[in-house]
C-alpha cells in the first residue's frame, strides 16, 4: 500500500513537471503552428544549467531565479535565428530543422558538460521527508517541487486569463489575422510566446534536476511524452496540457506498479484511446 501511494504521488509530481514542458509546446503549436522537436532539449539544457548554477550559488532556488532570465533570452534568440523562418513552411521542414537543433543542442551539452550522469544536491533545508496522512513518508523536496509546479500553473492561468498579454495569446489562438489587424505586431507576440515556452521547459528541467540524475537522454523522453500530452489535451489548450500531463503521470505510475514491461506502451495506448474518442483532444478546438 505504501508503495502504491508513493507511486501515485510520484506519478502526480512527474505529471506536474511534465505540464511545464508540455504547456509551452502546446502554446507554440497552437498559436504559431510550429512543431518544435527541440522542445525537450530546453528541458535538458535547463537541467544542466541547474548543475552549473547550483555549484555556483549553492541553492537550487537561486539557480531557478537566475536561470529564468537566461532561458528567456536564449529562447528569444533561437526564435529570431531559426524558428521564425518556419511559420510559412510545412510540417516536414519544421520537423527537420528542429531535429537539426536537437543534434546541435545535444552536442553543445556534451561539449560543455560531458556525458557522465551528474547529480544536483537537494537544498539542506528541504532534505528529509514528512509523514503524509500518517501512512507514508514522502520527501520534502518532491512536495516542494509539486507545490512550485502548481504555483507556476496558477500563475500561468492568471497571466492568460487576466493580463493583456494573456488576452493576446488567447486571441492569437482563435484569430491570428485579427490580432494583427488590430495593431499588434504578431512577430513580437510569437517571439514572446516561444521564449516563454522555452523558459517553462527549462524551469522544469532546473527544479527536476535534484530528483533524478542529470544525463544526456532526458530531453528526448520529455519531448515525446510532452507531444503525447499535447495530443491528449488538445493543441493550444493549457488546461488540456494540465489534465493530460496528470493523466500521463498517473498512467505511468500505474504502469510501473502493475505492468512494468508495458509502462511506456500504456501511455501511447492512452493517447490512441483519446484520439479515437475525441479526435481533437480533450480540450481541443474540435
Amino acid at each position: 500500500m505504501d508503495l502504491v501511494l508513493t507511486q501515485i504521488f510520484n506519478g502526480l509530481q512527474y505529471g506536474l513537471l511534465l505540464f511545464l514542458a508540455a504547456s509551452g509546446l502546446t502554446l507554440i503549436l497552437g498559436i504559431m503552428g510550429v512543431i518544435n522537436l527541440s522542445h525537450g532539449s530546453f528541458y535538458m539544457l535547463g537541467a544542466y544549467l541547474s548543475l552549473t548554477l547550483t555549484s555556483l550559488t549553492g541553492d537550487i532556488f537561486l539557480s531557478l531565479a537566475l536561470g529564468i532570465p537566461i532561458a528567456f533570452a536564449f529562447g528569444a534568440a533561437i526564435e529570431w535565428l531559426f524558428i521564425r523562418h518556419l511559420y510559412e513552411r510545412d510540417h516536414l521542414q519544421q520537423v527537420l530543422l528542429t531535429f537539426g537543433l536537437i543534434l546541435v543542442f545535444n552536442e553543445v551539452q556534451r561539449i560543455l558538460w560531458g556525458t557522465f550522469p551528474h547529480s544536483v544536491p537537494i537544498p539542506s533545508y528541504l532534505s528529509g521527508s514528512v509523514k503524509l496522512f500518517g501512512l507514508m513518508s514522502y520527501p520534502n523536496y518532491r512536495i516542494a517541487v509539486a507545490g512550485l509546479c502548481v504555483a507556476l500553473a496558477l500563475a500561468m492561468m492568471f497571466v492568460i486569463q487576466r493580463t493583456k498579454i494573456g488576452r493576446m495569446i488567447r486571441a492569437g489562438e482563435s484569430n491570428r489575422e485579427m490580432v494583427e489587424v488590430l495593431g499588434i505586431d504578431t512577430r513580437l507576440l510569437f517571439r514572446f510566446v516561444f521564449a516563454a515556452g522555452v523558459t517553462l521547459a527549462a524551469a522544469g528541467g532546473i527544479i527536476a534536476a535534484p530528483i533524478e540524475s542529470v544525463y544526456p537522454g532526458i530531453g528526448e523522453s520529455v519531448l515525446i511524452t510532452s507531444l503525447v500530452v499535447v495530443v491528449i489535451g488538445g493543441i493550444g489548450s493549457v488546461r488540456g496540457a494540465f489534465v493530460g500531463a496528470l493523466l500521463i503521470g498517473l498512467a505511468d505510475a500505474f504502469g510501473k506498479v502493475f505492468l512494468p514491461e508495458f509502462a511506456t506502451g500504456l501511455v501511447y495506448a492512452l493517447m490512441a484511446a483519446v484520439l479515437v474518442a475525441r479526435p481533437g483532444g480533450l480540450f481541443g478546438r474540435a
Binding site: 503549436l29 512543431i35 531559426f82 523562418h85 513552411r89 510540417h91 516536414l92 521542414q93 520537423v95 527537420l96 530543422l97 531535429f99 537539426g100 537543433l101 536537437i102 543534434l103 546541435v104 545535444n106 552536442e107 553543445v108 556534451r110 561539449i111 515525446i224 507531444l227 503525447v228 495530443v231 493543441i235 514491461e261 508495458f262 511506456t264 506502451g265 501511447y268 493517447m271 490512441a272 484520439l275 479526435p279
Partner: protein, 593 residues
Amino acid sequence: MLRRPSALVAIVLTALVVAALLVPFVGGSYAIKFTTRVLVLAIFVISLDFLIGITGLVSFGHAMFFGLGAYSLYFISPQAEAANALVAFPAAILGAGVAAAIIGAFCVLTRGFYFIMVTLAFGQMLFSLFYTSRIAGGSDGAYINVKPEVALFGVTILDFDRRTAFYYFCLAALVLVYLGALGLARTPFGRVLQAIRRNEQRVGALGVNTYTHKLLSFVLAGAIAGFAGVLFATIDGYVTPDLFGWRQSGVAIMMVVLGGVGTLFGPILGALLYSAIEEVLKTGSWVGPIANHWSLGLGLILIAAVLAWPRGVAGLFETHAPPAPPGRDQPSGDLQAERPQRGKALAVEGLTRAFGGLVAVNDVSLKLAPNLVHGVIGPNGAGKTTFINVLTGALKPTAGRIRLDDEDISGRTPYAIARCGLGRSYQRTNIFLPFTVRENCLIAAHARHPSPFRLRAGKFAREEEHEIVHALAATGLSARADARASHLSHGEQRQLEIAMLLASGARLLILDEPLGGMGAEETGRVTALLRALSVNHTVVLIEHDMDAIFAAADTLTVLVEGKLLAHGKPEDIRRDPAVREAYLGRWGQEIVR
C-alpha cells in the same frame, strides 16, 4: 507529376551504378561495408519517400518496419546455421507488410500533425517492447550467428558471409527497388496517390476512397522498409532496438529531404550525402578535433539545408520549363458526344442544416429538372455554399432528403456521392496546380474506376483517354493539354475544373461561382460553354454576375437567410417584388420600376 528522370539524372544515376560496380576492386573491405550500408539505407529511404513524397504521409515511425525486417532475420536464423535467404527475405517483407497493414489501418485514419504523432507512438511502442522485454536480447541487441545464404535444393548459390557477394546483391536490389518504385508511381494507383498528396479533399470529391489508397501505400512502403531491414541485419549480423526508434526514423526523413522529396532518386543521393557527411565529420584525420562533435556539424548542415535549400539535392537537377505563354483564348470546342446523355435530376425535400443555434439552410424543398441550367442566387450569407456542401456530402444534413434521379443520397460520403454522378467545382479554384492539364483530367478519369489495385494502366486506359480528349475538346483546352495548370490563366483554370468534372463522368454538375474573377470576355465564353453543356448534363450554378446568370439559366432559385424565397423562370424572378426587396432594399425597388 512524376516523370521519367531527365537525361541529366539518368546519366548521374548510371555513373553512380558504374562507380558502385567498381568499388570492390578499388576499395578495401571497409569501403565495401560502408557502401553496402549506403545501398541498404537508400532502399529504406526510397520506401519512405514513396510515403512522404508520393503520397504525402509524413511518418515519424517508418523505422519500425525497418526494425521488424531486421529482427525477423534473427527470429528465422537457426542458432548455428545460415538461414535460406529465399525464405528469410520474403518472410521479412511479408511480416513487415502485415504489420504495416494492421498499424496502418489505424494510423491512416489521421492526418497532418496527428499522423506524425501516431506513427511516432507506434514506433516508440515497438522500440520499448524490444528494449525492455527479453524477446530478443532486450537492450543489448541480438546476434545473427551465421549470415544467410541463397540456397536452392540444398545447393548454396550465394553466401552472404562473403562481403562482395552480398554487396552486389544489394546493388541489384537497390536498382530493382528504385525502378519498381518509379514504375509504381506512374501507374494509375501511383498517380492518384500523387494527387492525394496535393489535394486530398479534391480527390475524394472526384469519387476516390482515399483511405484505401493511403493504406495500400503505407503497406507497400512498410514492406519495402522490411526488405531494407533484413538486408541491414545481414551486413553486420547484429540487431538492436535502436533500429525501431524515432532517431532512425528522423535520420531517414533527413535523407529524404536532403536528397529531394518526391523524386524517388533523391533518397539515393540523400543516403549517399548523409553517410558521406557523417563519415567525413567522424574522421579525425580530416577535420581534426571537431570529429568528436560531428553531430554538431551535421545538425548545423541540416538547419542550413532547410533554410536555404528546401528542395534538396534533386533541386539542382530540376530544369525549369519556361511557362507556356498565357493562353490565347480558345473558343469553346465542339460538344457533340456520340450519343446525347441524360443529365441527372435533383430533388431536395425539407433540407435543413443547422450549426448549433444558427440555421444555415432552412427547410428547403426543390426539384431541378435534368438537362437544364439552374441558377442559384441570393444575398451573401444566404446559405448557398452551405446548401452546396450538404448536397455534395461535405456536410451532413440535419434534416431532409436529397435524391439524385431516384436514388436517395442523403448523408453519404462525398466520394460515394461523386460516384453517383454528382460533381462539384469550388469557389476558389481547386485543381492540382503542379500537374498538367491532361494529368488533372487523367486523375478525374481514374476516379471512374477507383480501385486502389490499379497497378497497370490496363483495360480502362483507352476509355479514359477518350473521356479526356472529349473533356478537353468540350472545354476548349485541347491545345493546352500539356501546360502546367499553374501556368494557365484564371479563366482557363476554371475551364479545367469543368473539364475534370466531365472526365470524371459527372452527369450533374454543381458549380460554385465559376465566373468569379473573370473579365467580360472570359465570362461570355464560359457562359456559352455552360449552355452547351446542358445538352448532355444538368448544370447547377451559384453566381453573382446577374447578366451572366440571366443569359445562362433556364431556372432561377433564390435563397435568402437559408430559406427558399422563389423559384422559377428568370423573367418571373426578375419581376418578383420579394426578390427585389432582398437585393436592393425598399428604395432600390422604386428606381428600377
